[in-house]
């Protein structure tokens, strides 16, 4: 299963980025092999629609789930349309987040965790 984790850096021991739409980058992991790709996020400084365009980019990676800190309503709606499972409130390193996911310790989000624009200016 392919999972996209928002990350402030490009390593497995980088911290999970608390922002979704304006996350620094994504670490997209194949959980069977733990092989991963780093996907830069072109929407970090977007004037608008960052969450929507980032969600679209995540869907295009083929990921089936997203682990992140917070996710706003527009991004959440877009991810839902793409049948992506969303897990918010995730903290620690990317590797730790994946361990929690595999252990079933994360709860799937039932909606957005913040309002629009929460990640701007951070």
């Amino acid at each position: 299963m392919k999972i996209a984790v928002t990350s402030v850096g490009t390593e497995m021991d980088s911290q999970v980025d608390p922002r979704f739409g304006r996350a620094a980058c994504f670490i997209v992991v194949e959980t069977e092999t733990m092989a991963f790709d780093v996907v830069e996020n072109g929407n970090v400084a977007s004037a608008g629609g960052a969450g929507i365009n980032t969600a679209k980019a995540v869907i295009d990676t083929g990921a089936q789930a997203v682990l992140t800190g917070n996710c706003g309503p527009n991004a959440e709606r877009t991810l839902r349309a793409g049948d992506i499972k969303l897990y918010t409130g995730v903290k620690g390193t990317v590797a730790e987040a994946l361990e929690q996911f595999k252990a079933g310790a994360l709860t799937e989000a039932t909606g957005p965790s913040v309002d629009s624009h929460a990640g701007m200016g951070q």
């Binding site: 977007s46 629609g49 969450g51 365009n53 969600a55 877009t78 049948d83």
Partner: protein, 289 residues
């Protein structure tokens, strides 16, 4: 004054007296026989009508076009989402999602749609009220709650400007997009300020904006007598003319709070506004109108 001339009443800081200056100036000019229009472009919180008490003869909705998807015709090609710079349209997993609050109505998405699945539909962003106060033409925009297309609505209010009248545009406070939309294309700007540190700080921001837009301007000092003399010193140092000073007078505050025109309630104000009208007339002639 019979030829067309557009004067904007603006300020960086809110609450400095833009509407007081705009409504009273419009009334004085109308009483002097000018063909005058008052246009309330402070569409998030218009209040010129409280003072002018116009007979509103027409009210109409102002709409913009936003995309609407017909899923039966959509092939999921994704071109709509690729052209949108604001994320207002996105195509995921064969379905198109639209986000109306983000749309800027450029029309790109429905123009690139190869199957006609995306079509424009009207979205109400506000309303426009027009009417008269004696010989004065009145127009005012009111933004719909929850909508952000302020510049589009301001454009609709300004479309009411006649080429043969003195148009007085009541501008929203600040220096952002709505202010730029209200100021664009005007002939002259009056920046209303208070002679306080707050007023001066925001006046400087407004001066920066009108200079960037290369608009001729002057300052009106309201509540003259409070604060300090730093605003006057600043204007002197920068070579900015002070077109009028309105005194800090309790009777003005009382008239304002009762929704009265200060030129009617406080006779001394009439002279100040008549002089301001003369100043604008001079500027208009210097501009060659």
């Amino acid at each position: 004054m019979s030829d067309g001339f557009v004067v904007a009443i603006a300020s960086g800081k809110g609450g400095t007296g833009k509407t007081t200056v705009a409504t009273n100036l419009a009334k004085i000019c109308a009483e002097a026989g000018d063909a005058v229009q008052y246009l309330d472009c402070d569409v998030e919180e218009p209040n010129g009508h409280i003072f002018l008490k116009p007979d509103v003869s027409e009210q109409r909705d102002v709409t913009v076009e936003v995309p609407e998807i017909d899923p039966a015709k959509c092939t999921g090609c994704g071109r709509c989402g690729e052209i949108c710079q604001y994320g207002a349209v996105v195509s995921v997993s064969g379905q198109v999602l639209t986000f109306e609050p983000l749309c800027h109505s450029c029309g790109g998405c429905w123009r690139v749609c190869p199957t006609g699945a995306l079509q424009p539909k009207p979205l109400k962003i506000g309303s426009l009220q027009t009417g008269r106060v004696g010989q004065l033409d009145f127009a005012s925009g009111l933004l719909e709650i929850g909508h952000v297309r302020t510049p589009s609505l301001i454009g609709e209010v300004k479309a009411w400007i006649r080429p043969d009248a003195l148009a007085i545009v009541d501008v929203p406070p600040g220096t952002s997009c709505p202010v730029v939309a209200a100021l664009r294309g005007v002939d002259f700007v009056l920046l209303v300020t208070e002679p306080t540190p707050f007023g001066l700080n925001d006046l400087k921001l407004a001066v920066g904006l009108v200079r960037e837009m290369q608009l001729p301007f002057a300052v009106v000092i309201n509540r003259d007598g409070i604060g300090d003399d730093k605003t006057a010193s600043y204007c002197r140092a920068e070579g900015i003319p002070i077109a009028a000073k309105l005194p800090d007078d309790r009777r003005i505050a009382e008239a304002y709070s009762a929704g009265q025109m200060i030129t009617e309630a406080v006779p001394a104000c009439r002279e100040r506004f008549s002089a301001l009208r003369d100043t604008i007339d001079t500027v208009r002639r210097e501009c060659g109108n």
